[in-house]
């Protein structure tokens, strides 16, 4: 019996010790891990749409609570002034959610650029949304406050041939981005001011 108790105690203490150690390490590295994830997953898209920014948009980021979702915003500094934010939104595509990074100039409410981050669309068709620079270039200059639509739905975006659903999903993501943007605009302006101090 004594042996049994010893077995249980050693096992428990070891497990608990391990749990504590790992939790500590996790707390210590959480921030760094998040940064790494953003840099390597979202990084390329952000860098592309905020091309020419004089700061590091990934380092200069902030979070705003939208309902119970925490959203990451990346800021871009152009000509010595922070005036652009980039953030991610989603739209339902053919093979699941499509992630779209959208950059918006705050003073004009105009889209500066969009870039598809994640998707699982058919290669050669839907995937062109990410691979064809011409498709995402169309979004540049649209007003973020208005819904974005493809030409079939009386909008202005030319759909990728053979991938209407994907194109619609991207538009939907952009429209979603607009909704988020409009809802959070006051907090955004507030945060941006802090950067420009």
């Amino acid at each position: 019996m004594r042996e049994l108790i010893k077995m249980v105690v050693v096992l428990t203490v070891l497990a608990a010790f391990s749990g504590g150690l790992l939790a500590g390490l996790r707390n210590g590295t959480a921030a760094q891990i998040e940064k790494q994830q953003l840099e390597f997953v979202k990084g390329p898209a952000i860098k592309k749409i905020l091309e020419g920014a004089s700061n590091d948009p990934i380092a200069d980021r902030f979070k705003i609570l939208d309902g119970d979702v925490e959203r990451n915003f990346f800021v871009g500094k152009f000509d010595g002034k922070v005036d652009t934010v980039a953030f991610e939104s989603f739209g339902k595509g053919y093979g699941g959610d499509i992630g779209l990074m959208v950059a918006v100039k705050l003073d004009t409410d105009k889209i500066v650029g969009v870039e598809v981050t994640t998707h699982s669309e058919t290669p050669g068709l839907g995937a062109m949304a990410k691979d064809d620079p011409g498709f995402s270039a169309q979004f540049k200059g649209f007003s973020i406050t208005e819904p974005v639509k493809v030409t079939n739905d009386d909008g202005k975006v030319n759909a990728i041939s053979g991938a209407t659903i994907t194109s619609r999903a991207v538009c939907k993501a952009a429209t979603n981005a607009g909704n988020v943007y409009q809802k959070l605009k006051p907090q955004l302006s507030e945060k941006i001011k802090e950067f420009n101090k």
């Binding site: 049994l4 077995m7 249980v8 105690v9 050693v10 096992l11 428990t12 203490v13 070891l14 497990a15 608990a16 391990s18 749990g19 504590g20 790992l22 939790a23 500590g24 996790r26 707390n27």
Partner: protein, 697 residues
């Protein structure tokens, strides 16, 4: 942080408690060596060894199926430790040794010329190998390549030779051999083996009721390894001195040399080495397995009981022999006369058997002094009933109870007791002048030869068939003839005639003639009407056969109900190999199971019963192995002609001259000399299943 801590705490505790409880609740006994061996494996459960995890590998090691070096992660030191657990310490384990069971090799003729790759596995796929022999070694050395200890090499005769110093009993060779030539067995496993149809054994070994490896011990004699020969015989027969004297050697009837020439004098060779050991003055050590703590009662100290006790003890069990007579030996002590088997010799032999740690309780008789119930109460796990066949059959004719009338076993036993026991002076035998012994078996011959030595003037045998049909050993009949015994054949006693005082005076018999052969192949004697004849006699011994005396059954309630007895009064055992009676823990063998038979058959039955008892008390199923040969022969091994033999003189048994031997009970048969033994062993063809050593190429 706290949640993580609590979660892991909970998980650790849950797993720990669950496993601790489970290990108690679901506890199953297993060999403690398994845990010891497992502690030395790497416990990574990697499966790299080919076994399914470390504990499976440990089980395999303990079962002798895997080498101590099985773990590919553990170092040489761990392997050495495992080896220490498994074998080097004799107190805990029996060493396993590899040995090959084919000694033919290249000797067997080829069926075809093989040009394929150098692998037995491959060769075996082509019609089972290139040799004519269906079971022999293929000789391409898969086993040699499999041996990690360099303990095997293909010898000069094309079969593998084991270096016992290097062999660790890992079993690698056994696993790769497509012909099952290589066997890894402990001594116990070897003792338990019964001849099988797929064994590689010579006709003599197939025929021997005790299954002795005859070619092997003859080979050892030829090489001067007399002690080795003794040990080889002791693997199957603990009574080699007695057997060497009294065995009618059925093996010699199947000797291949006997087909073209005279058979090898196998029994004389056995007697030679047995006497060699006795004359050396000390018993050769007999290896005994570690004690199992199980107790077995052997009832009857005759050949079957002694053999059963001997093998049970060697398998590690505690054995007690309960015997009704003052000294051990049973029928070979109290039935076989002194001149055939000197009791000094027998005592030396039984002492050797008791020496390995068997208890002997003399003068205690089942049914008179104790019963089976009291044995079970005393904690015996199993019982062997080897009570022999001591009850003479009677003629069933008028007057056979007159004064001067005796029965065979009764007469011989009484005489033996008088001769051997100091306190038995009142048993002095009556010896008539004109003595008649009825019967044609060995008991009858023993009676007449005893009577001659006791000084009877005229001794004759009355037998209802002819000499040819006499069941007694030929040598015995011849000896009796030499010693002056008269024979009256084809005579069936009908009446014993007595005088007023109740003493026998004559024997009336009917003359017979031979009719059609009966079921046993012997021609049936048919009485000739009106041919009654009367012989004048003053002593009559009826020795017409005997059966077991099962009076104890009535005395013991337990047995009364459950123990089945056949109509010949033998103890019923459904299977002559398993020898288990209708009461599961009671086993039988020898004369009590078969009726009067050969000593060597009783010895074989003793070992078979020991095997069954061993299986029974270790909780295993008692089924005879498939393909058990029992007393049959493997057809392919029985030849009509044996080419390549040059005739050579058979060494005959030396005997005392008749005039010397009939005056006393001094042993009449003598042992052959060492020179003769070496010559005779050289006559052996060293047969295996189908191949043998030819005299001429």
């Amino acid at each position: 942080m706290l949640t993580a801590l609590l979660f892991m705490l909970g998980l650790g505790a849950a797993c720990g408690i669950m496993l601790s409880v489970a290990s108690k609740v679901f506890y199953v006994y297993e060999d403690p060596r398994i845990a010891e061996v497992e502690a030395f494996t790497a416990a990574a459960n990697c499966g790299g060894c080919g076994y399914t995890g470390c504990s499976a590998a440990a089980v395999a090691v303990v079962a002798g199926e895997a080498p101590p070096s099985v773990c590919i992660l553990a170092d040489a030191e761990a392997a050495a430790n495992i080896a220490a657990i498994m074998g080097v310490d004799p107190g805990t384990a029996e060493p396993l040794l590899s040995y090959n069971t084919c000694t033919g090799g290249d000797r067997a003729a080829d069926k075809y010329y093989y040009m394929g790759i150098n692998s037995c596995q491959a060769l075996a796929t082509l019609y089972g190998g290139k040799h004519e022999c269906p079971v022999g070694c293929l000789g391409l050395g898969d086993c040699v390549r499999a041996c990690a200890f360099d303990a095997l090499k293909i010898g000069p005769h094309g079969y593998p030779v084991v270096d016992e110093m290097k062999c660790v009993g890992c079993g690698a060779c056994e696993r790769v051999c497509p012909k099952d030539i290589m066997e890894i067995k402990t001594m116990s496993q070897k003792l338990l083996h019964l001849n099988q149809y797929d064994d590689r054994i010579a006709p003599c070994q197939q025929t021997c009721p005790a299954e002795i490896d005859i070619p092997r011990y003859i080979y050892q004699i030829k090489n001067g390894d007399y002690e080795g020969a003794v040990n080889t015989i002791r693997e199957r027969n603990p009574l080699l001195l007695s057997c060497g004297r009294v065995c009618p050697h059925p093996c010699e009837d199947k000797c291949r040399r006997g087909i073209e020439d005279q058979a090898v004098s196998i029994n004389q060779l056995k007697r030679f080495v047995a006497d060699y050991e006795m004359n050396s003055g000390h018993h050769l050590p007999v290896s005994v397995a570690p004690s199992t703590g199980k107790k077995v009662a052997v009832i009857g100290g005759g050949p079957a009981g002694l053999s059963c006790a001997f093998f049970l003890r060697r398998l590690g069990h505690d054995v007690t022999i309960f015997d009704a007579m003052p000294k051990l030996g049973g029928m070979i002590r109290y039935g076989i006369p002194e001149y055939r088997l000197p009791k000094e010799v027998l005592a030396w032999e039984t002492d050797g058997i008791l020496n390995i740690g068997i208890e002997h309780k003399p003068n205690i008789m089942l049914g008179r002094d104790f019963d089976i119930g009291s044995l079970m109460a005393a904690g015996y796990d199993s019982v062997f009933l080897g009570i022999g066949a001591w009850k003479d059959y009677t003629l069933g004719v008028e007057g056979e109870n007159l004064g001067g009338c005796y029965t065979g076993i009764n007469f011989l036993t009484n005489f033996a007791l008088w001769q051997q026991e100091d306190g038995a002076k009142d048993r002095q035998p009556f010896v008539g002048n004109k003595c008649v012994v009825i019967g044609g078996g060995n008991t009858a011959i023993d009676c007449v030869r005893t009577l001659i030595r006791l000084g009877a003037e005229e001794v004759s045998i009355v037998y209802r068939r002819t000499r040819k049909e006499m069941p007694a050993n030929e040598v015995e009949i011849v000896a009796a003839e030499h010693e002056g015994v008269k024979f009256t054949f084809l005579a069936a006693p009908t009446r014993v005639i007595g005088d007023e005082e109740g003493n026998v005076t004559g024997l009336e018999y009917l003359k017979m003639e031979l009719g059609e052969p009966d079921a046993s192949g012997r021609r049936r004697p048919v009485p000739i009407e009106g041919s009654e004849t009367v012989m004048d006699i003053d002593m009559l011994i009826t020795a017409i056969g005997q059966g077991p005396d099962v009076f104890f059954k009535d005395e013991s309630k337990r047995l009364d109900q459950d123990l089945n007895i056949t109509r010949w009064n033998t103890i019923d055992s459904e299977d002559p190999v398993a020898l288990q009676s209708s009461i599961p823990y009671i086993f039988t063998g020898g004369d009590s199971a078969t009726g009067a038979a050969l000593v060597v058959s009783a010895i074989g039955a003793g070992r078979r019963a020991a095997r069954s008892i061993h299986l029974y008390i270790t909780g295993e199923e008692i089924t005879p192995p498939a393909k058990t040969l029992f007393t049959n022969n493997i057809p392919v091994s029985i030849f009509d002609s044996v080419p390549g033999i040059e005739k050579s003189e058979r060494t005959e048994m030396p005997e005392l001259p008749v005039e010397d031997r009939i005056k006393s009970f001094v042993e009449a048969d003598l042992v052959i000399s060492e020179e003769e033994a070496l010559y005779e062993s050289g006559r052996c063809l060293q047969c295996c299943l189908t191949c043998y050593n030819k005299d001429v190429a």
